[in-house]
């Protein structure tokens, strides 16, 4: 008993500290809670109330009373056929008719009077092992219930935290694999820091006779379950349970708390919300919060409390970042945030350009090295060399006749853009060009890669194009190119 007491006070302290961070006024003196013990809990019990149970993704309201009470929880087990995906039915075994089961919320120190009813139509006996229970089996033996019967047992909610509950009837894996799990929150005495939205999200892996998406009624595949190769990995019991109209919602500026559970039976979740950073994560549903977390591990049979402020509007995707599960097995949910955009926090798309992998946005085309030519080449000699380079490098786009391709590649023949500025034409060859240009009165918006040509080749090629197809220009020298390359 002493060990339990000290354990209790240890668990409370970090919670208190956190509450103090957020709402200083709520922080109770830590000295008093440390003296709590089971007899004290019993003495302090006042009144009785029925627990508010909610179906996912809803969470019962925060507990505002400041004293422990007797909380009566009535939970019914039902075995029922429900969709696990579009057109795919599965026989779920449920706590409260949903997967995951009803969310239970009690306060640290409460005496919980638990009534587990097994619907008369059930084929199986069931029970409940609440990880919030201190006692052998977590209530499993005491709650073992034949179809058409109700079991009752009680426990003291000694340790605050977010706990998984599940059926523990043999073969336990099958009961869990059929959806028999949920979450119970034991709120610390001081309450949790106030937030604007609370949601209940629980992951589970499912093993069906047919493969993912195979329609019809699918039975449980024991083989796949034993091999730990699920067909479905989903949030809240089915593919799309948190998508579209059923997405979680919030408004810009609000703080969201996700009570995240993982029923398993097999997989550990790498829980992540795409585009958000968790400001606070109570790792594994315990009393210590980590800050600025991108992805939090949620063990099978474990939980996590993730809290974050939503600063910008949009749809944020909840995933198991073991990402094939998200892409191919259903582990996707949505949080839709409404409100004014904040371009400082997130700009949205500012630009869209063609990406060509070599050399950033502008591609660099390398050409075989050539030996340096004498500096004093004539215009005709340069045009001769330039024609060869043009044929190798430029002609594919600008065409043999220099007329380019309408709407794609601007003409060089009789080109006002080319002829207007010698230095600009050198830069275009050296550095590439992208974005809108107007050539001979026609707009183009395309990309020319940067060409990794030697100074000689650039000079020769430009001399060639500036003096071909009706163009009449001067000679471009290697020195001009070197000067441009040097940025002068």
């Amino acid at each position: 008993m002493t060990a339990r007491t000290s354990n209790l006070s240890l668990a409370i302290l970090p919670m208190l500290a956190l509450a103090a961070c957020d709402k200083a006024s709520q922080a109770a003196p830590t000295g008093t809670s440390a003296s709590a013990s089971t007899p004290a809990l019993e003495v302090a019990l006042r009144g009785e109330e029925n627990a508010v149970l909610t179906a996912p993704p809803k969470v019962p309201p925060p507990i505002t009373r400041k004293h422990p009470t007797r909380v009566v929880v009535k939970l019914e087990v039902r075995e029922k056929l429900m969709p696990i995906a579009e057109g795919v039915e599965y026989t779920f075994w449920t706590f409260g008719g949903t997967v995951p089961g009803s969310f239970i919320r009690v306060r640290e120190g409460d005496q919980v009077e638990f009534h587990l009813s097994n619907h008369p139509d059930s084929k199986m006996p069931h029970n409940i092992d609440l990880h919030a229970v201190t006692g052998p089996g977590g209530g499993a033996a005491a709650s073992f219930t034949a179809p058409g019967h109700t079991s009752q047992f009680s426990f003291a909610a000694l340790n605050p935290g977010l706990y998984v509950y599940h059926c523990a009837t043999a073969p336990v894996g099958m009961h869990i694999a059929n959806g028999m799990y949920g979450l119970i929150l034991v709120e610390p005495k001081e309450g949790l820091p106030r937030v604007d939205r609370e949601y209940y999200v629980m992951q589970g892996d499912f093993y069906t006779g047919g493969s993912y998406g195979q329609t019809g009624i699918q039975g449980f595949s024991m083989e796949k379950a034993v091999r730990e190769e699920p067909d479905y990995v989903v949030f809240n019991g089915s593919v799309g349970a948190l998508n579209g109209d059923k997405a979680l919602t919030a408004n810009v500026g609000e703080t969201v708390r996700l009570f995240v559970g993982n029923g398993g039976p097999n997989l550990i979740s790498s829980f992540h919300v795409i585009g958000e950073i968790f400001d606070l994560v109570y790792d594994e549903g315990g009393g210590i919060a980590n800050t600025n977390v991108q992805t939090t591990l949620v063990p099978a049979g474990g939980s996590s409390m993730a809290q974050f402020k939503v600063d910008v509007p949009g749809t944020f995707i909840l995933v198991d970042h073991s990402i094939f599960r998200a892409f191919n097995k259903g582990a996707l949910g949505m949080l839709k945030v409404d409100g004014p955009a904040s371009t400082l926090v997130y700009s949205g798309k500012q630009d869209d350009r063609v990406y060509q992998p070599e050399g950033g946005a502008i591609q660099s085309v390398s050409v075989a090295k050539t030996t340096p030519l004498p500096a004093n080449l004539s215009k005709e000699e340069r045009m001769g060399h330039g024609a060869r380079v043009y044929a190798q490098v430029c002609m594919a786009c600008h065409q043999q006749d220099g007329k380019g391709i309408p709407a794609a590649f601007p003409p060089l023949a009789k080109s006002d853009y080319l002829m207007a500025d010698t230095r600009r034409s050198i830069d275009v060859v050296l550095k590439g060009l992208q974005g809108p240009v107007t050539v001979n009165g026609t707009a183009f918006n395309s990309v020319m890669p940067a060409l990794a040509l030697s100074d000689d080749d650039v000079a020769n090629t430009l001399t060639y194009v500036r003096n071909s197809w009706g163009n009449a220009g001067d000679m471009v020298t290697s020195a001009d190119v070197a000067a441009a390359r040097g940025g002068n």
């Binding site: 026989t91 084929k123 099958m174 034993v226």
Partner: protein
């Protein structure tokens, strides 16, 4: 146990006992046991034909350290199908203490025969359906009235492990899946009549796929005391510890039956729980 101990009316071929893997023909060894002690109210139903069961080997699912891993059972007889509503109606007609209004609460809970329209009345469409919503006490009383008894868990499980084609059903592909498929269909669907699933190679019907069935020692798996009281249950079949000591952790069907049985108390009644009777073999010499 030698073959000579068998009732000569048993037409089951004893040769199948020599070497377990021999297939068996579908022969219905019908052995008439004692006639009903009392006349039935109307349109008397007959007692169910008994099938002779050879000396089968039974593997306890969770043997204790001092228990044998396999047990060879004495040959016995088992009813070919579960007791029907019509048959049970005869019984309560003859034994008024087991009528719905009269049964003592200590022997059956409030759900006893709740699907019957009256104390001595059943829906015509229910005649051939297995009787459900019966307690262990009432099932035993019926069996005694027939001059029979409930099968033991070992007997029931051993016959349930018999295949459609061979005594050893474990080698039949899809057997486990077929059984699990039934368990994983939701309850609440209308029950089927007895003999609506294929018989095993001994000629016993519906051990899988129709209803759960009471056995004499239903509480032997987990319960350690009188099952009327607050039985202290062995936790070893809960959660992961269920696999500790299991002879075959992959035998989910057996796990589920054990779990089901251990969730019961003797006065409980369940919508999909019925029973069938067994009988000892009558020595002719």
């Amino acid at each position: 146990m030698t073959h000579s101990a068998w009732n000569s009316t048993s037409t089951l071929v004893c040769a199948m006992l020599i070497g377990g893997a021999i297939g068996c023909g579908r022969r219905h060894a019908t052995v008439q046991s004692k006639p009903p002690a009392t006349a039935s109210p109307s349109e008397p139903s007959v007692s169910t034909p008994l099938v002779s069961v050879p000396a089968l080997t039974y593997r306890p699912p969770s043997p204790g350290p001092n228990d044998q891993k396999t047990v060879t059972l004495a040959p016995f007889q088992l009813e070919a199908h579960a007791v029907t509503n019509a048959q049970y109606l005869d019984f309560v007609g003859a034994e008024p203490a087991w009528q719905r209004q009269r049964v003592r609460a200590v022997f059956a809970d409030a759900g006893y025969l709740q699907h019957w329209p009256g104390d001595l009345e059943i829906a015509t469409s229910d005649r051939d359906l297995p009787v459900v919503n019966v307690s262990w006490f009432s099932a035993r009383a019926y069996a005694a009235w027939r001059g029979r008894r409930l099968p033991t868990q070992a007997e029931w499980e051993a016959v349930a492990a018999v295949g459609l084609l061979a005594l050893d059903g474990s080698t039949e592909l899809g057997t486990m899946k077929r059984i699990l498929d039934w368990y994983s269909r939701p309850g609440g669907a209308p029950l089927q009549a007895v003999r609506s699933t294929p018989p095993n190679c001994l000629g016993v019907y519906d051990l899988h796929g129709l209803v759960w069935e009471w056995v004499e020692d239903f509480n032997s798996a987990l319960l350690t005391d009188d099952s009327r009281g607050g039985g202290s249950k062995d936790n070893s079949l809960f959660c992961g510890s269920g696999a500790l000591g299991a002879a075959n952790p992959s035998d989910y069907a057996t796990f589920m039956r054990q779990a089901f049985r251990s969730g019961l108390r003797a006065r409980y009644t369940v919508r999909n729980l019925g029973f069938r009777c067994a009988a000892d073999l009558v020595r002719t010499h």
